[in-house]
Symmetry: C2
Subunit: 757 residues, 2 copies
């Protein structure tokens, strides 16, 4: 066993006390002198031409300090994909969904701002709305974006091996279409931003963003402000799940309104705005065709996917890329064909959402796997083991797998759930279902970058500082990153002074998404700590007159390994360095990997450049009430290969949280649209799983040691969600024999399926 | 002439717009969630034994969240001088002046906190109060500090040359006693602190301190909190003048009350508290004996000084050291004797105050110089020129002078004021007076340290960051330090992103005092910028394939000197460094000088280790109304040798501000005591000079190039005040023939002197 003193320990979340005692300051808590309140006017039409906007009456309302429209912006379009930018902060010619931004107001209080919105006159010419991507793809459909030739934002086809030969060689073929629905991120904290722009042209923003450094550069680009004028400071953040990566009109409006008024401006989304005007999980339609043999070998697999983009791109193009990568990389299949279309519709648009296209792909594939097992009368776990990925393999779509514990996760849930025994003694209306998944364990360089930087220093008092651009949005990176540094520097994590996220005081980090923080920022921190450790020991060697090789760090002392009493404290090393050597000891670390393969295709993500892949298998035990169709979760087992686990306590928390998000997506959570309008934009009508709905969840950490991760670690955050829904739906089928291929499996839907059986 | 593009330019204060538009956030503006308001219970007795303190009733008052006394502290004494610590946050056994801290309260609002103070029962046994240092020095006087043998906190005698032989060789001898009075710093912002200590044991303090890094360590020591738990963040600061260097009970109380309640606590001094319970300029009695020859040569000078310490040490011991150094170093005199006693009294205690003992010494010496000139019937300027310091000399008290423009300052005011002509055509009741001074131009290593650190970086966007521990308290260091960096990096100062003071994000800096920031922090910044410049050019050379020697920086481009179109922008260098070389270019700089001479005496400050000395001559033209004694300032000329002036606009501002502080000390400002009680603790009874009292001030910058200062610069902040009072009092004597040797020269005093003539 490894011999770590910090890594692998169940250390409590560094921010826990601050959060549970209510002391944590979130963006909504920030109040600045003379602060104004902003509100955004959003389109009530799903698709319309803007004929005129008259803000004169709103401007005259007492207490209103500024009203802005597209005329106050440089009209620079944005998106996560610079070459596919399609969104203006405030639309100028057309609105494309109910919620699209038209104008913004800053006033002395929120009530006045809301009143002012009602005084803005917008003259719209309504256009035919497109709400179904299949309709939107048809020839002759109205165009949502005038500058494009069709409503297909992105389309690609990827072929590996020979799909037709593969099908020809297969003993059996199954075809099936799977659909998934829109899910709201539902982070407990809504989007909030305070911007303060003085007449000195400086811009300071307190934003609950998952990616402060990129946000700074996006603000710089979209508003044509020099980056050195901008500072982004994320306060404590109440969850993101992908919704807080993008540049958002709330950010732009805050800055513009503050610039115009010379006063700080705060905008906080209402929950309704959060539902209707921030991103959501992309709905999808995936037609699968699988060819397989008697022994369970998958010979060929084909997917034809339509991803419903909504009105704008946001992350859509790469979400579709991930839909392909994760579909194509899971299991050892030689012949693969994938064709995808990302299609604009006049609905709220999709964005990054925990899993990033993988849940849609995995729902389809993992349901298909159970259909194959059923066809072959084979144990679903055996089928998966038969096709399981292996360590150090290169998949057909050229994904380089390093560590891989997929087999171990399958075996782990099998054992923990008492699968074999329960399968034999199946009770009526009870069922077991299993589903596996693959996902990146450390972001990717798909966009060309995957950077995280960290610096460390020892100050004159011997205090150790860690500065990292990584942002803790609740997932616990403040804890795990200080653990990595503490392990290397032979101290306790809470003894490290931590500075994160602030763009002025940390090295750029791409952000908290793609399950990349532990891996990428962790590698940067590890390097910075090793770098600093070397300098500390060298300085101690110098002071003590001992060779470096004899020295080691123990409890903030550098001492001779064999004679622990012969040592020098960090406090003395810091003091001597500063006052005598006139130097502050520092370390820097930087990660931006992996190498991009020559044959990488940025469109399909063939040869996807992820630095490591994580794996998991989820296993659900359900009981279905045939009278109501209600699915009760009885047990849930989640085995994850996240490499070496830095902090099992936090990892288990992630697994539990991810599972619960998957429960909702599988069974109860669904944004309902009617002509583009969301009918249930509140937590009353949009049903999250609450504490009393949640079954016993058993997290299982199947540790591999990744060769490239810090201490062998890989990412976990998104993985925790991905294979939840298919496990549950497979269990429903096991319980009552109905195969539901369109999410979610609401009680009504299950009931209707049972009735039709 | 030098060929600088930034240095020497009249660039407007970097913070000006933020301040004048009211956007600057001062400590009093800070409001945190759940914040409580603190108030301090102060002694109403000047000298008394504490018999008991009963806080039970105060604790029961509704809205009171905590009441603390000495029992809640570790009873660790403090002072600026660690070995002479004599002050407790809350006194345990005795109170020693009216204002001494006994207890503190935190409540939901200020009114409740004030009410609670009135409910604390303090049982005191009154003791005889000592208000006159001469009385306090007498044998048998009651002891103010029980652990000391007498009321003399510090005493020393310094002899250079042979004082008796010197007097014996002199043609004339004059003896005279000079007294100076207590002055309040009167910074427009009072002491304010917000401390936030959660259950996570972290301490964050927003304090208007002149020395955030030392404050952090003093809090750590006095409250026995590990330094890595503490963060000090100075917001914008409304002046200090020395009053905001010390650790103060407001700081300690905020931390303890916040720790006790788990809520943030704010304490803001009222103006009355600021007058009665923060530091003041030490009153002094200086007996001078000067021996001189017919030709004006000063042969010998002797001083016997008593510095009225008040109840506690604070900066007293080093203020008396400076009193000696500045007295002894000004002018080339071979035989010097100085004897000083720092004496406790039961009054509010002195602290650092612009000039730090020098105004008291200079008032005495420069009045004496005019008395000598009068005796010899010699022009006062000629007398001073005769004895003027020279560059590169070592004074009799072993102060190493590098650059020295004293002679030039004398000549400059003479010319600017039209001295010779006006002296010839003297009008009745009009007079001219002159006074010179010497002061440190860059702090000193008298305490063993004189440190300032700076780091710089270029981020991925090519933005240049400067992090410095130096704190701008209004004097303009944010502007001058970015100018130094900008000059070196070939850019505009406002293009540099600046981070200052925050102990988490800047290297330690000793603080803003001792006229040290431009010199010490400036040297650190200069070194950091040169360091960064070298790396930027090396990286550019690497990218461009050009040798380093051919490259130069112009407007954020590194280009080939002869072919400016062949270059690369900072933004590209930053991007390449970060994404391809995985490195952020950084530079670090550190200053901690000068070398301490072997014969340095830490008691008397013989061989004072200042890195450079600044010089000045002030010249006042006054008109005295013989009917009222009122002194009207007609003209004021202030010539300063501050080395190379980084920013003449700000330097002139400093000179004007310093002169005005001197006007007040000379004529109107005096803290009046009655049995230890300050009678005029408000701006109605304590008369500051206001805008309509201020004459035309003509600042003159006599530039020398100091060999050790950044670009040749030396400090100026305190110098601007020092020789103002003697210039005015010499002018009064010139106008109406009365020689006033006890400050201030109020109208009443001048009138009485005229009457008695």
């Amino acid at each position: 066993m490894d011999n770590y003193s910090v890594i692998g320990k169940r250390i409590k979340n560094r921010d826990a006390v601050t959060k549970v005692t209510g002391k944590a300051v979130f963006a909504a808590d920030i109040k600045l002198k003379g602060m104004l309140y902003g509100k955004i006017l959003r389109s009530k039409a799903a698709h319309a031409r803007i004929l005129s906007i008259d803000v004169s009456e709103a401007r005259q309302l007492k207490g209103v300090k500024a009203v802005i429209t597209c005329e106050d912006t440089p009209l620079i379009k944005y998106s996560i994909h610079p070459l596919m930018a399609d969104k203006l902060a405030f639309e100028d010619k057309k609105v494309r969904y109910i919620g699209d931004e038209i104008a913004a107001v800053a006033a002395v209080d929120e009530a006045t701002a809301i009143k002012a919105l009602s005084l803005i006159k917008v003259d719209l010419e309504e256009l035919e709305g497109l709400f179904d991507p299949v309709e939107a793809m048809k020839e002759g459909a109205p165009k949502i974006h005038d500058h494009l030739e069709t409503n297909v934002s992105k389309h690609f086809k990827m072929d590996c091996g020979d799909i037709e030969q593969g099908f020809a060689r297969s003993d059996f073929i199954i075809e099936k279409t799977f659909t998934t629905h829109a899910q709201s991120h539902s982070s407990i904290e809504t989007h909030a931003c305070v911007a303060d722009c003085g007449l000195d042209n400086q811009v300071t923003m307190w934003v609950n963003t998952q990616a402060p450094h990129p946000l700074k550069h996006r603000i710089s680009q979209v508003l044509a402000i020099e980056p050195e004028k901008i500072r982004v400071i994320p306060p404590y953040i109440g969850g993101g799940f992908g919704s807080k990566i993008d540049l958002d009109t709330t950010h732009i409006a805050c800055v513009l309104l503050s610039k115009k008024t010379g006063r700080p401006v705060k905008i906080i989304n209402t929950r309704e705005e959060q539902f209707t005007a921030t991103r959501m999980r992309h709905p999808s339609i995936t037609e699968l065709k699988f060819g397989f043999n008697h022994d369970g070998t998958i010979v060929a697999k084909q997917a034809r996917a339509i991803i419903d983009n909504g009105a704008y791109n946001s992350h859509g193009p790469s979400v579709m890329g991930y839909h392909n990568v994760m579909f194509s990389s899971l299991y050892r299949v030689e012949n693969i064909s994938y064709e995808g279309s990302l299609v604009y519709t006049n609905k709220n648009y999709g964005g990054a959402c925990r899993g990033y296209g993988d849940p849609q792909a995995t729902f389809a594939q993992e349901t298909m796997m159970d259909m194959i097992a059923e066809k072959l009368d084979m144990d679903p776990i055996e089928l998966r083991l038969k096709n399981s990925n292996h360590p150090d393999e290169k998949t057909a779509n050229a994904v380089e797998i390093t560590s891989c514990g997929l087999t171990e996760t399958l075996e782990a849930v099998k054992k923990a759930s008492n699968w074999s025994e329960k399968k034999k003694t199946k009770k009526k209306y009870r069922g077991l279902g299993v589903a596996s998944m693959i996902y990146t364990g450390g972001g990717s360089r798909g966009s060309g970058f995957n950077y995280s930087g960290a610096t460390m220093k020892m100050d004159a008092s011997g205090t150790i500082f860690l500065n990292t651009g990584a942002t803790d949005i609740g997932q616990g990176s403040n804890t795990t990153l200080t653990m990595i540094a503490a392990e290397i520097l032979g101290m306790e994590p809470e003894q490290i002074r931590l500075i994160t996220s602030d763009t002025d005081t940390t090295l750029p980090c791409m952000g908290t998404f793609g399950s990349r923080v532990t891996f990428c920022a962790g590698n940067a921190v590890s390097q910075a700590a090793l770098n600093l450790k070397e300098k500390i020991i060298a300085r101690a060697a110098d002071i003590l007159g001992e060779p470096v090789v004899r020295l080691e760090i123990k409890a903030r002392n550098v001492c001779v390994a064999q004679e622990p009493e012969k040592g020098i404290a960090f406090s003395q090393i810091g003091a001597v360095s500063y006052s005598q050597k006139q130097e502050v000891l520092t370390g820097a670390g930087y990660y931006d990997g992996p190498e991009i393969a020559k044959d990488f295709d940025p469109k399909s993500y063939y040869a996807y450049p992820g630095p490591a892949m994580s794996f998991a298998t989820h296993l659900a035990e359900v009981e279905v009430d045939p009278e109501s169709g209600r699915v009760e979760l009885i047990n849930f087992y989640a085995a994850h290969d996240s490499g070496k686990v830095i902090n099992p306590l936090l990892a288990e928390g992630q697994i539990e949280g991810g599972a619960v998000m998957g429960f909702g997506w599988a069974l109860t959570e669904e944004l309902k649209f009617e002509n583009g309008r969301i009918l249930n934009p509140n937590f009353h009508d949009y049903k999250l799983f609450s504490i009393k709905d949640i079954p016993q969840i058993t997290p299982i950490l199947v540790e591999t040691i990744d060769p490239n991760g810090p201490f062998g670690a890989k990412g976990l955050g998104e993985c925790a969600m991905v294979s939840t829904a298919p496990a549950i739906l497979n269990a429903i089928c096991d319980a009552v024999g109905v195969r539901i291929c369109d999410l979610p499996a609401t009680s009504e839907k299950v009931f209707n399926h049972i009735k039709l059986k």
